[in-house]
C-alpha cells in the first residue's frame, strides 16, 4: 500500500475535518482519528451562532440542528438581564455535525478518513513529514496539519510549544439534564463568582426540556472541583433533574503566536484558538 500523501491531517474534529473539506480535491489527503467513530464521544455544550452556520454551511439543509432559542438570560450575583435574541444562536447535535462534514470530505473530496488510528509521533524530515501510528505504521506527507484538539500532544513533537498555562485553561464539567424547568426557548449564562470561579455556568436548551448544563472555572484557582460545584447548583436550582449523561471537559484559550513551522500547521483547539470570553471553539476551529 502506498503511504505517501500530499497532506496528512491528525484529528477528526471540526478543525481537522473542515480543513480537509477546504483542500483542493485533486490532492491526496488522509485524516487520522483515534476514536473509532467520527463524532463520538462528544464533550461539548453544542452552542454555535447563526453567523457560523451562514459563513461555513450556506448551502443545503442542516440536519444537525437540535434547537433554536430566542431568549438570553445573563446572571451575576443578584443581577439579571433578559434579552430577546431571535435567530442569533442555536444548539447543534455535535455528533451529527461532525458526521455531516466527514461525509462531505469522503463523498465530495474523496479523501480517506482512517478512524481507530492514534498518531503517537510526528517528525519533519528534509522534504517531507512522517507520522507514526500506535501500531508502528508510518505514513509520509508533504504537509502535516495538526488538529488534535485540546490535549494538543503532537505540536511539541515538531517544535511548536503548545503547552497550556493553567490561567489559560478552563476546567469544565457538564451534565445533560431533563427537567420541566428547562425552557427550550431560553439560554442561560451565570457569571456569579461563587457559582463558577473565574468562569461561568451555562444552560443550553436542547429541546424537549433537555439541556446541556455545565460550568467551567479558571484552572489556576484554588476552589472546589467543577463536578462538585455543578452538582451543588443543580441540587439547588434543578432539584428534580434527571441526569442523562455527564462528563468532564477542558477548554484552552490564548492562541499560539506561531501556529506553523516548516511543512506543519496547527489548527483549532490544538492551537488554543477557542474564544477567550465564551470558550466557544467550534467557530474558530472552522476558521483556523
Amino acid at each position: 500500500m502506498d503511504k505517501n500523501y500530499d497532506v496528512i491531517i491528525v484529528g477528526g474534529g471540526p478543525a481537522g475535518l473542515y480543513a480537509a473539506y477546504k483542500i483542493e480535491k485533486s490532492f491526496k489527503v488522509i485524516i487520522f482519528e483515534k476514536d473509532d467513530v467520527i463524532g463520538e464521544p462528544i464533550l461539548c455544550a453544542e452552542g454555535i451562532s447563526t453567523n457560523t452556520l451562514k459563513l461555513f454551511f450556506k448551502d443545503g439543509d442542516h440536519p444537525f440542528i437540535r434547537n433554536i432559542y430566542s431568549k438570553l438570560k445573563v446572571k451575576y450575583k443578584d443581577l439579571e438581564a433578559n434579552i430577546d435574541i431571535p435567530g442569533r444562536g442555536l444548539i447543534i447535535d455535535r455528533s451529527k455535525f461532525e458526521k455531516y462534514i466527514a461525509n462531505k470530505v469522503k463523498e465530495e473530496n474523496n479523501f480517506e478518513i482512517k478512524t481507530g488510528s492514534f498518531v503517537v509521533d510526528a517528525k519533519v524530515e528534509n522534504d517531507h513529514v512522517k507520522v507514526i501510528l500506535e501500531n508502528g505504521e508510518e505514513y509520509f506527507g508533504k504537509i502535516l496539519i495538526i488538529a488534535d484538539g485540546v490535549e494538543s500532544y503532537l505540536p511539541n513533537k515538531v517544535g511548536i510549544n503548545s503547552v497550556c498555562n493553567l490561567v489559560d485553561m478552563y476546567s469544565c464539567y457538564q451534565q445533560i439534564i431533563h427537567d420541566p424547568n428547562v425552557k427550550d426557548e431560553e439560554i442561560i449564562f451565570d457569571f456569579t463568582p461563587s457559582v463558577a470561579p473565574g468562569g461561568y455556568l451555562w444552560v443550553f436548551p436542547r429541546g424537549n426540556n433537555e439541556a446541556n448544563f455545565g460550568l467551567g472555572i479558571t484552572s489556576s484557582l484554588d476552589c472546589e472541583k467543577p463536578y462538585k460545584l455543578l452538582n451543588e447548583y443543580r441540587e439547588k436550582n434543578y432539584p428534580n433533574a434527571k441526569i442523562l449523561r455527564e462528563f468532564p471537559g477542558c477548554v484552552s484559550v490564548n492562541q499560539l503566536s506561531r501556529m506553523y513551522t516548516d511543512r506543519v500547521m496547527v489548527l483549532g483547539d490544538s492551537a488554543r484558538a477557542a474564544d477567550p470570553i465564551t470558550g466557544g471553539g467550534i467557530d474558530n476551529a472552522l476558521r483556523r
Partner: protein, 58 residues
Amino acid sequence: MEYIKVDKERCGLCGGCVAVCPAKVIIMYKERLEIKEGCLKCDKCIKVCPVGALSKNG
C-alpha cells in the same frame, strides 16, 4: 513509584492534563491515560482535572 496516580474510574479522558503538562509525559490513548517517565512533579495536572481523577501517590 510513579509520582502521579490516575483513578481510571473517575477519568473522563477530557485531555486537560495532557494540555498543561510541561514535561509532555501524559499520553491519552483512545481508552486510557498513561504517564511516562520524566514527570517534573509540578502538580499542574492535578489542578486542572475537573473530576479529581489525579493525585499524588503515597
